[in-house]
């Protein structure tokens, strides 16, 4: 018997537990499948350690409570799933604009609209590009195991404070719902958390008043604040790229996948190696900043082709292509709506690439922007007699 430090926990609960250990004492949220265990865990545990759990009237209210609590200097978070995260976009933009740190968790489900409740990665664009209006990014971390749920939310709080930015955990229903052994991080010493002299805690008549604000009616002033923020982004891009490389030293075909999709891709890559194909796995851990240096490295190592495997219709593939910048072929394979590809499906794509064949038709469609080459039944369902 071994591994006594490890416990078996659900991904959603681990996010909550690790957040508390990272010093988070405030949680504001609204119920939605498949992340609700996180809120329930917080509701149970936070009051016992002097924290506050509050079920808000909406995701909009929740993110604005986060904004207020963060402006007041607290380590604070909210969590939701895809449709709810859309509602949080406004507040996250304000947090970015006012340079207020906080952690947002998205345990993704299928979309668009109400979509479904099964695992999905269809919010990649939303997370890495445009969760809210305006010129901003935020660190986006993508756990692929329950252990990483703990490790990355711990990191997310630190990144948020260090760079005064919202930070996101982009998980999915699979990692949120599953149990795996996890070694929980240690409790943060609350007195060692970063000072926040900018926070609105009351002047105590001893300093100028602090203002937490994102409004700048002067274009020059607004441009200045945005430039300052982008200087921070440049530093994040330079220092915070994270990824895992598996079997990439001599890989000619590199599968790129994150989160749940990377688990399936990992099996497929191993199976491909067993068949003598020089395949490797590049698993982005930070989706923003995107691990472009790792892409550079595997190309230097001899990668000729990338296959982006995602639980969506092709979103991260654009970042792979941008990073590869014409130096290697990039194709895509994905399933959407909550359907998970099997390792066999992914292996089939790798084998096609290894044989010099065109990758999957839907991959071509996404990559080339062309019409699906499959025959399309142009009859309406009425004409087909359905």
């Amino acid at each position: 018997m071994a591994e006594n430090a490890r416990v078996l926990m659900k991904g959603n609960e681990v996010l909550a537990e690790a957040a508390m250990r990272a010093g988070c004492r405030f949680f504001f949220g609204y119920p939605i499948t498949p992340q609700t265990e996180l809120a329930a865990y917080m509701a149970k545990k936070l009051p016992l350690i002097g924290g506050t759990f509050l079920q808000a009237e909406s995701e909009i209210a929740a993110i604005n409570m986060v904004y207020g609590a963060a402006a007041a200097g607290a380590r604070v978070m909210t969590s939701s799933s895809s449709p709810g995260v859309s509602l949080k976009g406004e507040g996250v933009s304000y947090m970015a604009g006012a340079d207020v740190p906080g952690v947002i968790v998205n345990v993704e489900r299928g979309g668009p609209g109400l979509g479904g409740i099964q695992p999905s990665q269809s919010d990649y664009f939303q997370a890495t590009r445009a969760l809210g209006h305006g010129d901003f990014y935020m660190p986006v971390l993508a756990p692929s195991t329950v252990q990483e749920m703990a490790d990355l939310i711990y990191l997310a709080f630190d990144l948020a404070d260090q760079y005064r930015t919202p930070a996101m955990i982009l998980a999915d229903g699979m990692i949120g719902q599953m149990m795996e052994p996890v070694e929980l991080p240690p409790e943060r010493d609350a007195s060692a958390l970063p000072e926040k002299p900018w926070a609105t805690t009351g002047t105590k008549m001893q300093r100028e008043h602090n203002v937490v604000n994102s409004l700048y009616l002067s274009p020059e002033k607004l441009e200045d604040t945005n430039r300052e923020r982008f200087a921070r982004y440049a530093e994040i891009r330079e220092t915070q790229q994270r990824q895992e490389l598996m079997m990439c030293d001599d890989a000619e075909i590199v599968v790129v996948a994150f989160g749940a999709a990377s688990r399936i891709a990992r099996t497929a890559v191993r199976d491909a190696r067993a068949k003598g194909i020089k395949a490797g796995l590049l698993r982005p851990i930070t989706l923003w900043p995107y691990p472009t240096k790792a892409i550079d490295q595997v190309i230097e190592n001899g990668a000729k082709q990338f296959l982006s495997v995602e639980l969506n219709m092709g979103q991260m593939v654009e970042d792979v292509r941008l990073a590869a910048n014409g130096r290697a072929d990039v194709s895509f394979y994905g399933r959407t709506g909550g359907v998970l590809p099997t390792p066999e499906e992914v292996l089939e794509q790798i084998e096609k690439l290894a044989a010099g064949e065109a990758p999957n038709a839907s991959a071509r469609a996404t990559v080339m922007g062309s019409v699906l080459p499959q025959p399309i039944d142009r009859k309406s369902s009425y004409e087909r007699g359905e």
Partner: protein, 184 residues
């Protein structure tokens, strides 16, 4: 008996309330105690609310890819729909433990070659033995007897770990149920 296998891909399925998620947790804890890679993946969504519940438990020496199991090496099926849904997916040579109390037509379901069907009225046996509600653990005991997915002391330790301190009085019946299943 205890022929420790390197990999167990088990789907546990039944009606909500039959304890398949709990039995899955015991199984997953066996792997945890063993220091193996483990995943436990429940079905989630509307079916939680009164329909069938199932979970996939993987124990492996290798890191686990998808925690959703499409080709299980073992199934514990505690009602007829579960046998129908998961029985045919079992790999050749696998094991299917069936509670015939609520899966009366289990022998009508086709399964791959060499799949061992262990059929017994677990719910009825549990009630007869004063172990009401522990048919799930009886089935798990039978699965252990068939596959030896861990050492016996690990199995016992996992049960001790899964019975919460507040329900300490349930430990003894759980241990009795697992032995009952092993010796069926």
């Amino acid at each position: 008996m205890a022929k420790t296998t390197t990999e167990l891909l088990c789907v546990l399925s039944g009606f909500g309330g039959q304890g398949v998620l709990f039995a899955g947790k015991v199984l997953a804890n066996c792997g945890l105690i063993d220091g193996r890679h483990v995943s436990w993946m429940p079905s989630y969504g509307p079916e939680m609310r009164g329909g069938t519940a199932n979970c996939s438990v993987s124990l492996s020496v290798e890191p686990i890819g998808s925690p959703f199991i499409t080709r299980p090496t073992a199934v514990i099926a505690m009602n007829q729909p579960s046998v129908e849904k998961f029985g045919p997916t079992i790999v050749p040579g696998g094991v299917c433990v069936i509670d015939t109390t609520l899966a009366m037509k289990a022998d009508e379901i086709e399964m791959a070659e060499g799949v061992t069907r262990c059929m017994f009225p677990a719910t009825k046996i549990a009630e007869d033995e004063g172990l009401k509600g522990l048919a799930n653990i009886i089935c798990l005991g039978k699965l252990w007897a068939e596959t030896g997915f861990c050492e016996h002391d690990v199995l016992t330790a996992a049960i001790e770990k899964c019975v919460p301190p507040k329900k300490k009085h349930l430990l003894e019946p759980n241990l009795r149920a697992i032995e009952l299943g092993i010796n069926l």
